[in-house]
């Protein structure tokens, strides 16, 4: 147990402590040391720190005050609960539209859009084997498609988050749609999710479309454009999820993510942008694992570190610019195919960790997500999980309820140290861009992944249903509802419709705007994203935009490291 001096009644305290220690040693069965995922040893008991009172303002602060360790808003969930933002996306724009209108009807004020895997890869639907279309997201290749997908949705008042990697064609389509409906861009709000190309290069290759340098250039253009023209849009979401799911420990995931954010901040500064202007629009996206206390400490440490970093490294002056805003998603990597209903318990635990960690919005996975895109019933349970935690568990009643827990405060400090260590390694390599280019980050993550796997293989890390408490497969629960696939005829019709569209649009406009886009990509002074918006308005498709930029700036090949 950590020894700290308590100024009051020191002698009595010491005696009681010695007594406890002696009895603990006598009665404890296993002397095997305990470690969490990030490699921090966990003591059985934590006591008060001697100077906690003096350090309170500096290390913790009140909610809504720098360094924001206890929460970025004054009232946190007690004042306004976290937003429930479930990811949705499947099939054709019309099918998406049906689903999203249902959600809005049920009271949602924030929607999300997941495009098809083919869209992530930079393809139009006429360029992909039919069975792969629309199975994991919605096929959106043109401004028309977006218009249909958002028919009847008031984009001037509803917040839209989209998985939209560089060059941000989906946002481009939304802007085109706003123009068609005479809605001012001043009213458009939402987030460019998956704008963090560094995390894709490292750990989600499907989202990685353009060369590193190309993506870097376009991101800065995108942020600059959004700051000027779409004031309520968050152009950047820095993602810790992919790296954690690829095997990074929670401390590493936070460390690498903050390093990426630092890199992006520096790139923006170099572009002449004002940190007090762009930093408030930087958001974060994290995985939430089963390691409950570790996750809470991770987020608290993250807030504290970011508050300091923004001031010291990026020159932020306003309190607003130093706030760490994040969305959390329960980790699919912890779910199991065996005994799938257990995943409901897991998701629930992960959600609690995120809520107690002070997130701003939350997505809960459905229990069948290990096997397929969620079916309706499991998806409803995922939403109900959040409702139950919010309404029945009293989790919103207290801001940072784990604050002051000796364990959690100590763990927060320790996580902070680990995170800063990781960031120092990255800084030593020359910053996050260089560190991923050389493969250092990937190697560190790969090692952690192997380490975790060998602990699972040996049984040291128990996973219920997988390496202990097993059920013979024949008797196990099946993934409950049959997998639903988009109807082949619908997809075929979509492909046909796209082909017709390509023939019938103005070829002159397409040629002209694509040429403009190419020119801008090769000139240092133009804003490439502004040309993307012009091009898609003229009928250029998603695949054509990505193809053009791949040509000019390079195809995004992931780096394979040992």
């Amino acid at each position: 147990m950590r020894r700290r001096t308590n100024p009051a009644s020191t002698d009595l305290y010491d005696q009681a402590h010695a007594q406890w220690e002696k009895e603990y040693d006598q009665n404890i069965h296993s002397k095997v040391p305990v470690q969490n995922r990030s490699g921090i040893p966990i003591q059985p008991l934590y006591g008060p720190t001697r100077d906690s009172a003096e350090n309170y303002l500096e290390a913790l602060g009140f909610p809504g005050q720098v360094p924001y360790t206890r929460g970025i808003y004054t009232t946190m969930h007690r004042g306004k609960t976290w937003s429930q933002r479930q990811l949705i996306g499947q099939g054709t724009p019309d099918e998406y539209n049906k689903r999203v209108l249902q959600l809005i009807d049920a009271g949602t004020t924030a929607i999300s859009l997941i495009p098809c895997n083919s869209v992530y890869r930079g393809n139009d639907c006429d360029d992909v084997p039919l069975p792969l279309l629309g199975t994991c997201g919605t096929v959106i290749n043109t401004a028309d498609h977006m218009d249909s997908a958002l028919k009847g949705v008031d984009i001037g008042s509803i917040s839209t988050a989209m998985n939209d990697p560089s060059p941000f064609t989906l946002l481009s389509f939304v802007l085109n749609t706003a123009d068609r409906r005479s809605i001012s861009w001043q009213h458009i709000s939402g987030t460019s999710n998956q704008s963090d190309f560094l995390s894709h290069f490292v750990a989600n290759h499907m989202f990685f479309r353009l060369s590193l340098e190309g993506a870097r250039r376009i991101l800065v253009d995108h942020i600059a454009f959004c700051r000027q023209r779409i004031p309520h849009w968050n152009p950047l979401s820095v993602v810790g999820q992919h790296m954690q799911q690829a095997g990074a420990t929670p401390a590493q995931a936070m460390g690498f993510t903050l390093s990426s954010a630092l890199q992006y901040g520096r790139d923006c500064l170099e572009h002449g942008m004002d940190p007090d202007d762009f930093l408030p629009r930087f958001t974060f996206f994290f995985d939430i694992s089963m390691s409950l206390f570790e996750e809470v400490a991770k987020f608290r440490a993250g807030r504290r570190i970011w508050a300091n970093l923004t001031q010291n490294e990026l020159g932020a002056k306003t309190a607003h610019a130093r706030r760490f805003k994040f969305h959390g998603q329960t980790s699919g990597a912890d779910l199991t195919r065996q005994q799938p209903l257990n995943n409901i318990t897991r998701v629930s635990t992960q959600a609690i960790a995120g809520i107690l960690g002070g997130l701003q919005s939350l997505h809960t996975d459905a229990y069948d997500e290990v096997s397929n895109v969620p079916n309706e019933h499991p998806a409803r349970i995922a939403v109900a999980t959040q409702n139950i935690l919010r309404e029945e568990a009293g989790l919103c009643d207290v801001i940072d309820p784990l604050g002051g827990s000796w364990y959690v405060e100590d763990l927060t400090d320790q996580m902070e140290k680990k995170i800063l260590n990781v960031m120092a390694v990255v800084e030593n390599e020359g910053g996050m861009f260089k560190a991923v280019e050389s493969g250092l980050v990937q190697r560190i993550i790969g090692e952690s992944a192997l380490n975790w796997q060998s602990r699972v293989d040996s049984g040291e890390q128990k996973i219920i249903g997988v390496n202990c408490y097993r059920t013979p497969p024949a008797e196990d629960q099946q993934t409950v509802t049959p997998t639903v696939r988009p109807a082949a005829e619908k997809m075929r019709a979509q492909v046909e419709q796209l082909r017709r569209f390509k023939n019938e649009r103005s070829q002159a406009d397409v040629k002209r705007t694509l040429a403009e886009l190419s020119r801008a990509a090769n000139s240092k002074n133009d804003n490439v994203f502004s040309k993307v918006v012009e091009a898609t308005a003229a009928g250029v498709t998603h695949g054509e935009v990505v193809g053009c930029l791949r040509q000019e700036l390079g195809f995004g090949h992931p780096l394979i490291v040992d």
Partner: protein, 144 residues
Amino acid sequence: MNAPNQIPYRILVTKVGLDGHDRGSRIVAAYLRDAGMEVIYTPPWQSLDAVVRLAGDEDVDLVGISSLSTDHLIIPDLMSRLTAADLTHVRVVVGGIVPDEEYPLLLESGVSAILGPGTDRGTIVEQISGFAAAARHERDTEFI
């Protein structure tokens, strides 16, 4: 597992379709290497024709495909291309996420096994060794 002095099995570990997640395939590649096999490891998004060509040029015994998402849906097409290229001795094993009711689709097209999430290391190595051995046994009569 290769017996000492036995010629190592050659296994192609690859991904087809659209998904790019490679945490699982990297770990399996390490398992197989540590079991004495030679693993030809590719980046994701290999076209079906590329896989067929690789299987032939590298003279592999078995093709291991890591499939998350829905990429397994194009594997039956791969199986027919392997047959057309005279590579029927090459075994194909799929690892990753396949909905239960789509197992028959794969197995009937000729896939030797589907190893789902949670399959332990020992089973993975054992199954792949077994199939690779069978492949090897079949192929040696092709040329004189």
